[in-house]
Symmetry: C2
Subunit: 422 residues, 2 copies
């Protein structure tokens, strides 16, 4: 008999996402590992048994004080993994929507000192308490939408001390928030205004001082670079990411968002863990990414949020055999907190199938964060991070645009429960 | 002294939407009637006083048992008015997403007996208890997203008795749900499969029997027709809508969704209250709509949900001087329950400004439903239907894609309150 402190029974459909090799691309992305009339037993926050409800009573013994929860035929999927956010910031940029509606680009707004630089000013000025409070509100809402694992990038301080402050705040969030937080250092988000014309010196500083400090204090798991004209060139990005690799950090690249910058190709060249955005990546570079095993982190709502009339070419990446993951891109420029909404846009705009979109927002996103602990899957030994929906089939998550779970578990404990369970 | 049983104080920004003439079009749509540091007093579910918080104590006296609620600087807007739904149905069509992804159209799926006809089969078969239960779940979720007034169309029974059953179910929902429900008869949603080739007889039946029965029992406030090739022609729609007008019903038209069907022009010709969808309306017909005072009910998520690569031309309608209203189009074909998400798509896809989108989802939507009781506005004498957001400015609703209110009031009573208030 397996001992458990929580037994979830009568799961109408359980999408384990626990079949096939990781990372997933092409047809394998459609295998959701479905079980019907299933049960899941949890002990100490980890999954200890999965099987049919009718067998649960004979296989699992509840500990004293443990409880059984009847899910009455509902759908259970892994808690979502949001593979790309910038959610640690102050200020807001809602007034820039007028400029975007008049056709101004991200680059042109930034060049005038707005956009990212307005967020940098507000973030530098904000107290740590304020930054934590705002980030905690965002994380609570992410959980409410079903997300239990999230990557968070720095990059709104830019100057070295400020970036270290942000990384230390992420460590505080890791220690206190009921979710898995993966910190990424993005000091190379933009060349700060005070360093204009001295980009090389800024890169020097990152390579010689910031990265070694961050790596030795284990403040980040990944290093990311914004590789676009006007931000960081391919050689600068290569230099930063190579240095990060030598220090044992994983690497990510903001690539090919505004133009085919060569960032995707660089990701393949250096064996980055992921390349992200990829709106403009040429077909040949998609092939390179597939061959190099780089995960494509696609952000289907970002062109929408920034009024760019070009959908994320999700289908093309799947066809090329690239493993696709998804993220909200939560930031002042793309204020999206709901992974179910990302899934809906991944299907209706980026043209993934519902099954591919679910794979991309769970097991593949966990792979983009190099989490090998069972995050993004429902598997024995893995964390009991689960989202429960009032739906019959996993594929319906994409069709019910922006649907929210009615219960969310993190390590077997409720982090959200809705009054709307029917 | 004004007596009140509820006093809301310290509203950081109050968007009353109570300025300018109704309906609103063009620049007037940007006037939100903003007040800062405001208070609202409510008595018996109606608003009795609006003014600055600092004056509330001297102007308003709380009744015994009444309470004051400090909104701590939050944003308050009118409860949203969803001007177009088909939320009374059974069954689901999530499996059709694969056909849509392969490029099949609504018409072609319907022609093969799927689409609307699969929903008709499921709805006819469903018990009234089941239909009510599903509709109540949807209405609860609408409220959670801030909607307090909703139009609901019939049209998934088609045969006369079944349509009457749906209208009676709507009456039950009106009597029991804490929101304003406006029933629309859409018997002419499609020619039922059993009447194929006998469309004229089906229209005869609607005109001679169904409409008089519905009008005399006051079962619907509006009559709507799906005017597209393969569904109902312009002459058939004219005949039905003229008959409805003679019986005292307001008229609406599903027009110009798939092709420029002439439905928009018909709406202008007969003086319909609204024309809805309007994806393909020619510029000359937009002018006709403006001149005739017909409200354009635009559904920015419908092309997205149905994988049609053509955004709703919202900007063009505003420019033409047409009063624009918004709706979710909640149906098995466009499963959207969130008006804040509709507002986000109205801006980012249909290119309204945030202020226009808010106007279109409140005061203009109430006008599209001919509600003159103050619904869709925050006005003395009107219902205390309010949505409270953890935001500073009304314009942020559009930018925080799919943001949810933290409290929703219907006639001064909580219908939703979130645990996430910061």
């Amino acid at each position: 008999m397996i001992r458990a402190d929580l037994l979830l029974t009568h799961i109408g459909e359980l999408a384990t996402l626990d079949r096939g090799p990781v990372p997933r691309c092409g047809p394998a992305m459609s295998e959701l590992g479905l079980q019907t009339e299933a049960a899941v037993a949890v002990d100490g926050g980890r999954i200890v048994w999965i099987g049919p409800t009718r067998k649960a009573r004979s296989a699992v013994r509840l500990r004293r004080g443990g409880r059984t929860h009847d899910l009455e035929g509902r759908l259970v999927v892994p808690g979502f993994v949001d593979a790309h956010t910038h959610l640690l910031f102050a200020g807001d940029r809602h007034r820039e929507i007028g400029r975007k509606l008049r056709g101004e680009s991200y680059r042109s707004i930034a060049a005038s000192g707005g956009g990212i630089f307005s967020t940098v000013r507000a973030t530098r000025k904000a107290s740590s308490a304020q930054l934590l409070r705002d980030a905690r509100g965002r994380l609570a809402r992410l959980r409410r939408h079903g997300t239990t694992t999230v990557e968070i990038k720095t990059g709104y301080a830019l100057e070295p001390r400020g970036e270290l402050r942000l990384l230390r705040l992420l460590r505080q969030l890791q220690a206190t928030e009921p979710m898995t937080i993966v910190p990424t250092y993005l000091g190379a988000h933009a060349v700060p205004r005070e360093a204009r014309g001295r980009a090389t010196a800024y890169v020097d500083e990152i390579v010689r001082h910031s990265l070694p400090t961050i790596a030795s204090a284990h403040l980040a798991r990944f290093c990311d670079v914004f590789c676009e004209p006007g931000f960081f060139s391919v050689p600068a990005a290569r230099r930063i990411l190579r240095a990060a690799q030598q220090l044992g950090l994983g690497t990510k690249i903001h690539a090919d968002e505004f133009v085919a910058s060569g960032g995707g190709r660089l990701a393949a060249e250096i064996g980055a863990v992921s390349a992200e955005h990829l709106l403009q990546t040429p077909a040949a570079d998609r092939q390179r990414l597939a061959k190099a095993g780089v995960v494509a982190v696609l952000l289907p709502l970002t062109p929408f949020a920034t009024l760019v009339d070009r959908p994320v070419p999700g289908r093309e990446f799947v066809r090329a055999g690239v493993a696709v993951a998804l993220g909200t891109d939560l930031s002042p420029n793309s204020y999206v907190e709901s992974m179910p909404l990302v899934i809906a846009h991944a299907v209706h705009s980026a043209r993934l199938t519902p099954e591919e979109a679910l794979t991309a927002s769970t097991v593949n996103a966990a792979h983009a964060l190099r989490l090998a602990d069972g995050s993004g899957r429902i598997t024995v030994g893995g964390p009991a991070d689960l989202a429960v929906f009032d739906l019959h089939h996993a594929a319906e998550i994409a069709g019910r645009i922006g649907v929210d779970p009615v219960e969310v578990y993190r390590q077997g404990k409720f982090v959200f429960t809705s009054e709307l369970r029917q």
